[in-house]
Amino acid sequence: MSATHSHSETCGCHDHVPPSGAVDERHERLRHVLDHAAHYLPTQGPIGVFVHHNTLHAFQHQGFENSVIEAAQLFEAEPFLSEEEYQKAREQGRILDEDIDDVLNREPDAEIIPGRLTRRKLRRALLIPGVRRVNGLDIAWQIEEGDWLQRFRSDLPPASAHLLTGDTPRQLWDICAARVRPQAAPAPHRPRRPHEAILAAKGVDLDRIVHPPLIRLVGAYLDQGIAYWPMPLREEGLLVASRRIMSQPLSIYRRHLSGVRAEFLRQEEKGMNAEDVVLDTLERLAVLPGDWDEFITAELLALRGWAGMIRMLENDVTLAPHDRVKCSLMEFLALRLTYTLVAVQDLMDDTSTWRAITVTPLKMDPLTPVARFFDAAQLIGLPGNVIAALPEEMFEQLAHEIAACNETERRRLLHLAYERRHERGILIPLAKHRALPRTQPEYDRLAAQVVFCIDEREESFRRALEEVDSCMETVGAAGFFGVAIDYAGIDDASGVSLCPVVVKPGHSVREVAVDEHAHLHEKRQWLRRAWAKITRNGFISSRTLVRGWISTALLGFFSLFPLVFRVLSPRAYGRLIKRLNRAFLPEPRTEVTFMRDDKASRDATSGLVTGFTEPEMADRVYSVLGPAGLHKAHARLVVILGHGSTSLNNPYESAYCCGACGGRTGAPNARIFAMMANRPGVRAALREKGIIIPEDTWFIGGYHDTCSDDIEFFDVDLMPEDHHGDLNRVRQSIDKARVLNADERVRRFGTAGNEIRGERALRHVQARSEHIAEPRPEYGHCTNAVAYVGRREHTHGLFMDRRAFLISYDATKDPDNQALARVLGAVIPVCGGISLEYYFSTVDNEAYGSGTKLPHNITGLVGVMNGFQGDLRTGLPVQTVELHEPVRILFIVETTPQRLMSVIKASRELVEFVCNRWIRIATMDPDDGHIEIYRGNDVFEPLVGDEEPLPVTPNSRTWYRGKSEHLPLARIDPHCARAA
């Protein structure tokens, strides 16, 4: 799971635009315009910490459906899947006709031909069986050579086909052609930026001239340690550094850029800062103040990855992983416009003439509307004579209605139908499952409780664990477990935040070696430093001239060993490395310093408090146990499992880690949480809050690697003697669950093959995490679609296919909704952000996602680009989203609509997510389990109908065995085996 950026304040600037005029006002206005344009840039920071967020955060203040369509135009992207994909889904039964009917019934209706045709009927016919693609290019061919005029479409609904009897296609076409007005050629439009004008006038791509030097400069400027020479003059800022470097004498410039030197020298001489340069170029390019907004937005979006990175680092300099460089989007724009200006000057002689050029859009066949009308007439069964007889006004309305239900509109409707089927496929079986008796047997006391992250990847693990040992219960809580800390382990150089990115940690915790192992620690550090020196030296010296000569020639051959073994037997190699580490690198026993040290504990520079006081610890522990309803009668052992993910050769590694920990691992949080909960003082404080932890309950922290399915436990040596038996039982069960989990995961991996099962599956996933050639070490959050906020007992024994975030929340113990507010405030932005990032990266992987991972090239340690000079790619690669079903996440909250809305309305961010429909949400009554679905405008609608079955299966394995597609919910009932 992962977190999101709040962008609720977006575009508060729409309303007031200061007038232009005096010098200061121009500067003021420019800053304002730039801030506005910057909202549209991607908000992805350096890739080492990958934070999932709504790709269209800038639009979140308005409704989802409008936003995706509007953004599609701005970014030249796709708003939904393609019509073909939805139609394919319809053929496969993923969309049913009743879904389309339901969606259409929610849209306003209108009469088109009285007694014969309504808007609904028309749209239904256009969606089922779907229109014939008219691409506006081959109509004449279709008429002359194709079979358009030979016969009507063969897939017409019988009713329409019946109405058309007696008519011929040629007759129908002729009448359509006679009545439908051909399309006027689209009017040429004014270019938004010089690129369009020059492409139209000269066939020269300006971006191809301007981008290479720009990318090289910005790449070198932002570099965090790849280049051997850091860029000189960086302290002067991007603009001045570039200016001084690029205008060195004796430089030879690329074609059309020879004027750069003179321009830079002029700027330098006049001492122009970035704003001066931008204003100056705007003037010389003859961009009127009224067009600034459009012009600057278009210029920034042309290289949006880099511009966005500059903006991110400008807003928060601490995002830079190593070198903090001063960033300014204004300087980037100034540099960009300077290059643009120079190139325009060279190409057009005059820098303002480009404004006069008009751009002719791509030609469309004027017959396009005729062909579309012709197709629609067949679908609705409107014979030629009826069309001919229609009064002018009615005909116009019909033509208008057909044009209005254009491709985007049809895709919108189909998408809603697609989501509706998903919604029903989840809600109906869920309600049925809840109505049936509980699948978990009753025990006096559970053997163990295991707290997992809410992450949907843990769903299968939790289910497997409960299947293995029915005397265990699992709980879901956000993976930082309420412990927001700045943490440094013994091997870390400095602290990092382990909490959702929206939270700033106030407490620092350090891992230190215990006193008696201090010497081991010292030795370890010494060895690691030595290793770092050797590795670093090897890295550099293999690339330089003199050192490279010696080291490459003499030592290069020895890389054959890692090369061969890493590729041919990755798992064995990984284990060898681990064994070597264990043999040579001493492992001191460690402890974490999380107790507040009373004297002068606040660090003056970072503002961090060292550790926690006992009441603070009790608060943290309460924040997890309270909402989850774990108030008393805990099991003898409570395991807290943080998670992370390890993979090699993967710039996106952080995207697979725990986003509730800021794209890092949650292991330290789990360890600290357990230690806190074991303190008698904390337990005493918890008792006052109503949480009574039995004397003999012990908490233990652990770590789950979601890629290799490895599990480890922390501080086992601190555990009381008599709990070892409990831990052994948990270990055994977890080991079995690990195998089951791996077994379930490999069904999705094409490279694993169908015959891999059990232990071999586990070895397979372990090898994936050690394989340098593996672009899909795991699938991350791919396929996520549901978030269930409620008691585990209602999802216990329900196969949810690793697609559901499971958040433990007990409404019966939360009379004042405080816990609900806390839970939703964290999980809606987090899960919503993940869901939307996956949605957009799936519907348009090139525009919103980062395309295929295979040619990605790490640049500056901040991001990836294609090839040697391209834009930074943001979003998720195709290898991560290829299995994803783009639906907005469906939240099911176990509460009542009134209680839910009271919580939502209290937070502006939640209102945006819920009321603007960026997520779907439903409630499940805590008492009787009836479900109500939010339909916008504060309307809830009860769930009716039961067309979706709830299949019963003896265990998960039987249900998924041999299948690789998405699976519907199923009830796991071990006792049904004999019956079946």
């Binding site: 791509d205 490279g548 094409g750 040619p855 090239n857 290898q879």
Partner: protein, 449 residues
């Protein structure tokens, strides 16, 4: 099996695989990934075995070379195109390392390209490439070498443009193709002149004796001309001297193809050619000087440019160019054995580095943590002795990649364009300007309906 047959099997295996795969493809068939994986791995295991056996047998019998003649491809009066392959102490280690590295990259790619729409195409080209590379290293004449040389070149270009649906890879591939063509022109000329002046282009005719220690048979200024032409041809393949600068453009392809071509094998083919014609090279002082000069200048320029590269693959590309420059210089200086060791070591090391280039972030962070957050700053050796403004000027040159592209675009390409325009005057039919080509249309976004 006799050594001759084994040698033939060596070169035939990838060729047959390529033919088979392309036939299946042309007939519309599809080979499942799994089968392709087995086929590829099996083929390379087999090839490795064959090389080992050959090596072992040659070692046992103290044999210096195996020559297999398949007769002539064709003959026109005096001219014969001999199909002869040669395995000797120079080609055997290079053939061995080619097979091992191509095999590893093949095994890597089976995973890496899983589900990529170009999966089939990639392996088709990989096998063709191996065939071409083996042909280069096992050819017994310049003629046959040229055939392999072209195969390697065309597969290289096709793999740079592997992601054909994006314009940049295709554009860069085209550019590399152009540079290859120019460089190959030197090779063609050399072959032509060798035949013309010396009536031979086979190693047998050009040199006598076994490698090492074979003796040059050609002499006179003509030999110098041929040697110089071959030096330029070799420079083209190895991105040296006048042809440096294309290597970064080759980074558009998928990572494993970058590794096998520009880290491992293709880039070293130029050095191999120089090793092969070494006596001829050293016969001519001009050619020797030229090789040393090209090598050293490229190495210096490469290391200079490398210092400012802020992305993983460009940095590796210039690092490769630097080492290749040194290998050229070593060959020029006559340090043959050392050059071979350097070549093989470099190929192995660079392959690993290319394949691991997506790890750079993780590697850097680990080193950073292990070093306690204090990584020694780089670039503070001799460069810090220079005055500040010289440092900036050097940085400018390096960031401009030695102005290579600027010079080529503005002076050479433009010159060629002008020349073509000038020549067009003599062709009245072509004077009437064809209608200006509309700019390449963007992939048609579905129009709004």
């Amino acid at each position: 099996m006799s050594l001759e047959k084994l040698s033939l099997a060596l070169i035939a295996t990838p060729g047959v695989l390529f033919l088979m795969l392309s036939l299946v493809w042309l007939l519309g068939g599809d080979i499942p990934e799994r089968a392709m994986s087995r086929l590829t791995k099996g083929a390379y295991v087999f090839l490795t075995l064959v090389v080992s056996v050959i090596y072992w047998k040659m070692w046992q019998t103290d044999m210096h070379s195996i020559r297999v003649s398949l007769g002539d491809w064709f003959s026109v009066s005096h001219y014969h195109f001999p199909l002869t392959i040669l395995l000797d102490r120079l080609s055997l280690p290079i053939v061995g390392i080619t097979i091992i590295l191509a095999g590893i990259v093949g095994a890597f790619s089976v995973r890496y390209l899983h589900r990529d729409p170009g999966f089939h195409r990639f392996f088709l080209l990989l096998h063709l490439f191996t065939f071409g590379a083996l042909l280069v290293f096992m050819a017994d004449s310049l003629d046959l070498l040229l055939a392999g040389w072209e195969i390697v070149g065309i597969t290289s270009v096709l793999l740079i443009s592997f992601f054909q649906y994006r314009p940049d890879p295709v554009r860069n591939a085209l550019r590399v193709f152009g540079i290859y063509r120019v460089a190959d022109l030197f090779m063609l000329l050399a072959v032509f002149l060798a035949h013309h002046w010396f009536k031979t282009a086979s190693w047998n005719g050009m040199f006598s004796g076994e490698w090492p220690g074979h003796v040059n048979n050609l002499d006179g200024p003509a030999a110098t001309v041929v040697a110089v032409l071959l030096v330029f041809a070799a420079s083209g393949k190895s991105a040296q001297g006048p042809f440096c600068g294309w290597l970064v453009r080759a980074m558009e392809g998928p990572t494993p193809s970058s590794a096998v071509f520009y880290g491992a094998i293709s880039i070293h083919a130029g050095a191999y050619l120089l090793l092969r014609i070494e006596p001829l090279l050293h016969y001519s002082k001009i050619a020797t000087g030229l090789v040393i000069f090209i090598g050293l200048t490229t190495a210096v320029l490469g290391t200079l440019v490398h210092r400012t590269c802020a992305d993983a693959k460009t940095s590796l590309a210039y690092a490769s160019q630097t080492q290749l420059g040194l290998i050229f210089a070593e060959i020029g200086l006559g340090w043959t054995t050392f050059a071979i060791i350097h070549l093989i070591s470099h190929a192995v090391l660079r392959t690993l580095q290319f394949l691991r280039s997506p790890s750079m972030l993780r590697d850097y962070n680990r080193v950073h943590a292990a070093a306690g957050g204090q990584i020694d700053p780089t670039g503070e050796h001799y460069e810090s002795l220079l005055p500040k403004h010289v440092q900036v000027a050097l940085y400018r040159i390096a960031l401009g990649r030695g102005f290579y592209d600027a010079v080529v675009d503005r002076f050479i390409v433009m010159l060629a364009v002008r020349l073509a325009q000038l020549l067009a005057v003599f062709e009245p039919r072509f004077v009437s300007k064809p209608a200006p080509q509309p700019p390449v249309a963007e992939p048609v976004r579905s129009p709004a309906h």
